[in-house]
């Protein structure tokens, strides 16, 4: 797990206390347990197909979890991610099945990728503006799109399931590169860029400063408002991209279902990965690790015939354990 944004104090204590080691590497430990369990118990676990299936599912959670990590780093939360996924996922098929796209396939396809992401960006700007400019609590500000975003998506599609065949669009959901689904590579690339930005650029350090102590950051001249708005906007764009991938995987778009309860998975993944809800830390690779753990839990239970409802309870237990371990570190 990456350690960006950890305070010096934590770093020193991390070497001293065994509990801190467990909590810092809790996500890795969970991953190891899950892998060993699956190797021993789950039939056909060591197959390329298993890897591909899981990577393709992890990618959608991981994208949102990375965005959520940025928002949580500012001390906020974004409940609207699932609704934004539904919105962008509903828009794309409408665009590439339109007459314009039939007549001009290439600009049509570009529009099908770009316009939904622009819409997602606008949602994020809206969330960010409410939080940063008007001082609305993040949970309430993002509640607006949580409620109405999916409604807009369903109004656009009249609530209908849209099915389609469009190999060029489905590329981002179904293609493989070196045996691994292309969206897996995409997520790795995006995570690497965001990790670099946080670690080595001023904007990234600003983000952590805002979450660490907003008042101090403002006094030190950090553009707090801009940083916060950008965090929400990035989170929404990543959610929008995730929505496009879900639609591409399924070759179908159902506004009622895309991204349903994704906010919970994303928050859980971010927290398992080491994000602290009060802000100040942005463990990007941790978010990916968290997404992998969440997906592996789902897969393990599913592959061994455990019902969905038990999986929910297991997920609850994992979140509690991960955060409790974090609390132990804080003492």
């Amino acid at each position: 797990m990456s350690d960006e944004g950890m305070t010096v104090e934590n770093r020193v204590r991390g070497k001293r206390e065994p509990m801190a080691m467990i909590s810092r590497h809790g996500g890795l430990a969970a991953l190891a347990v899950l892998l060993i369990f699956n190797l021993l118990v789950t039939p056909n676990f060591l197959q390329a197909q298993t890897l591909a299936v899981n990577v393709s599912q992890v990618a959608t959670i991981a994208l949102v979890a990375v965005g959520m990590t940025l928002v949580i780093a500012t001390g906020g939360i974004d409940l609207s991610v699932g609704a934004v996924m539904a919105l962008s996922g509903a828009m794309a098929p409408i665009i590439f099945t339109s007459e314009f796209a039939q007549a001009y396939p290439v600009p049509g396809l570009a529009a099908a990728f770009l316009l939904p992401l622009v819409a997602a960006f606008c949602c994020g700007m809206f969330n960010g503006a409410l939080v940063a400019l008007l001082g609305v609590q993040p949970i309430i500000a993002t509640l607006i799109f949580f409620i109405s975003g999916r409604g807009v998506a369903q109004v656009l599609t009249n609530g209908n399931l849209q099915t389609f065949t469009n190999p060029s669009f489905s590329y981002i959901g179904t293609a493989r590169l070196l045996g691994i689904p292309v969206q897996g590579w995409l997520v790795a690339l995006i995570a690497a860029v965001i990790w670099y930005v946080i670690r080595y650029t001023a904007s990234g350090r600003y983000l952590l400063a805002v979450g660490g102590n907003e008042r101090a950051a403002r006094m030190a001249g950090v553009p707090v408002t801009r940083v916060k708005i950008m965090a929400y906007a990035t989170c929404s764009v990543l959610s929008g991209l995730s929505g496009l991938i879900v639609v591409a995987i399924n070759s179908a778009s159902d506004a009622a279902r895309i991204g349903n309860l994704m906010e919970l998975d994303a928050i859980a993944a971010a927290v398992v990965g080491g994000a602290v809800l009060s802000g100040g830390r942005a463990p990007i690779w941790g978010a990916i690790l968290g997404a992998v753990v969440i997906q592996l839990v789902k897969y393990t239970l599913l592959a061994n015939g455990v019902a969905d409802e038990i999986a929910l309870i297991a997920k609850a237990g994992i979140i509690v354990a991960a955060v409790y371990a974090q609390q132990m570190r804080k003492g």
């Binding site: 309430i140 949580f146 109405s148 409604g151 038990i310 609850a316 237990g317």
Partner: protein
């Protein structure tokens, strides 16, 4: 922020203006409805409106207490789904066992929240998120993913389907009693004052010797119990325990509390204004249904979601403006 200042008189005036603003908005919508729609004021509409919204008012009351301490309870919706099933299973023994069983199941979930939040010191958002998932999973497990029919022979369905007097259903009578009791607890007891003090500053409250732990445990037990009661109403009113209900209820409750002027950061809140907030949000739907019924517009359920978000946005803008003007006045 102005609202953290104890002696911030103008901010408080702004707050009270907003709390009474709920009643002004409510009155305006009722007058609009009465003038525009023939059957809006009918006993039938009043009865069914109150009966349906009794569930949301009761969870909003529990949520209000949690939020006043600066916490949050995301689990209420699925806890209500869970307890509706418990109540349905207990319904053959009559109304009292089903009522007590349902509320007790809710309190049990509240106790889990309290344990996670108070001794284990998990953030309320995460703790209640986990119980939310567990309650949903639990509801599906104990119901076998099916709605659980209540016993129609027993007295259980009377609670959710019959009127106490005139157009007033039994559910709203229970809710009114609960609201008055909670109002008295908040305004007139040490426990209630402690709840508000914790929201103002938990550390200062502890240093002043207030029983912080007791008050925090109380609010989560209360919220769980309120969700349990909402589940009993659900089972009784719809004749079945509903494992798939409850999605988004927590957000409706949070919205009602916020519309009622309670700050999410805690330290301030009003029971009557929360009831007003819940009625206001319910009334938006009621009016939309009437408008649909007139045939002048045809709003799908999808549009209603969009409009609900829009109403919340309008309220938030109003609240933010009031905060700003209160800030500027200082």
């Amino acid at each position: 922020m102005a609202n953290t200042d104890m002696f911030d008189l103008r901010g408080m005036v702004g707050r009270h203006a907003q709390m009474s603003g709920v009643w002004v908005a409510l009155a305006a919508m009722i007058i609009f409805g009465l003038l525009r729609y023939e059957n809006f004021g009918s006993a039938y509409n009043l009865g069914s409106f109150l009966n349906y919204n009794s569930m949301f008012i009761i969870i909003s009351l529990g949520m209000c207490f949690v939020i006043m301490t600066g916490g949050i309870d995301l689990s209420v919706g699925y806890v209500a789904a869970f307890t509706s099933i418990v109540a349905a299973y207990l319904s053959p023994w009559g109304i009292v066992p089903a009522l007590i069983g349902g509320v007790a199941a809710g309190v049990a979930f509240g106790a889990v929240n309290a344990i996670l939040i108070v001794p284990m010191r998990l953030p309320p958002f995460i703790a209640t998120l986990s119980t939310m998932l567990a309650a949903k999973g639990g509801a599906l497990v104990i119901s076998g993913k099916q709605t659980v029919a209540v016993d129609w022979e027993s007295s259980f369905t009377k609670l959710g389907m019959e009127k106490a007097f005139g157009p007033i259903p039994w559910t709203i009578v229970l809710v009114a009693i609960a609201a008055v009791v909670l109002w008295i607890i908040l305004e007139r007891t040490a426990l209630g004052r402690t709840v508000l003090a914790i929201g103002g500053s938990e550390e200062a409250s502890g240093l002043m010797g207030l029983k912080v732990t007791r008050a925090k445990v109380f609010v989560y037990l209360l919220s769980g119990g309120c969700a349990g009661l909402a589940g009993v109403f659900l089972a009784s009113g719809f004749g079945a325990g509903q494992p798939l209900e409850g999605t988004g209820w927590e957000l409706t409750a949070i919205a009602s509390v916020v519309v009622g002027g309670t700050l999410l950061t805690g330290g301030l809140g009003s029971i009557p204004a929360t009831v007003g907030g819940a009625l206001l949000l319910g009334l938006v739907f009621n009016l939309l249904n009437f408008e649909n019924g007139r045939g002048t517009i045809s709003l799908s359920a999808y549009w209603q979601m969009v409009i609900r978000g829009g109403v919340l946005f309008a309220v938030i803008l109003l609240q933010a403006r009031m905060n700003k003007s209160a800030d500027r006045a200082n």
